[in-house]
Symmetry: C2
Subunit: 87 residues, 2 copies
C-alpha cells in the first residue's frame, strides 16, 4: 500500500518522529513523508506514532491508497525534503 | 477530481494562501487543505499559488486523485483544521 503522512507536531517531539518515519518512508516536504509499505509496517507506524505524539497537542494525518498509480503529485516551489538533507 | 494540498510557506505569506485555498477547499490540518474540485478550479488554484508563493523559499505539494474513493484517511491526535476555527 502507498502512504502519505502529514504531521503537525510540537517542536520538542519532531526529531523523534522524523527519525522514526525515515526508517520506513521518504521525506518529501518539511512535514510530509511518503512511500510504499506493507500492511504490517502500516500497523507498526500507527502504533508507534500513537505512542510518540501527544494526542491533545499534535495532529497526524495518514492517507493510504491501495496503489500509487491512483495518485498524481505536483510540486510548486522548492523541494524541501530529500534523502540527502534529512536529519 | 479530489485534491490534497500540503504547504510549507513562510509565515508572511500564509494568511493570504489560506484565505485563497479556503474559497475552494476544506481546511484539514494546520498546513493541509482537501476537497473535490473541477479541472478548471484545479488550473486556477495552481496558477494562483504559483503567483502567491515565493518559489525559492516556499514549497507546495498538490496531490490529485480521480476519485476520493481511492483514498483512506486516518487522523491521530487532535483535529486541527475545521470550518469553525479557520482564520
Amino acid at each position: 500500500m502507498y502512504v502519505i503522512i502529514v504531521y503537525d507536531i510540537k517542536v520538542e517531539r519532531i526529531d523523534k518522529v522524523r527519525k522514526f518515519l525515515k526508517t520506513y518512508l521518504e521525506w518529501i516536504q518539511n512535514s510530509v513523508f511518503e512511500g510504499e509499505i506493507t500492511k504490517a509496517e502500516m500497523r507498526s507506524i500507527i502504533k508507534n506514532l500513537e505512542k510518540m505524539i501527544k494526542k491533545t497537542e499534535d495532529s497526524v494525518l495518514v492517507y493510504t491508497l491501495r496503489d500509487e498509480k491512483y495518485l498524481e503529485r505536483k510540486e510548486i516551489g522548492i523541494q524541501k525534503g530529500n534523502k540527502s538533507n534529512i536529519l
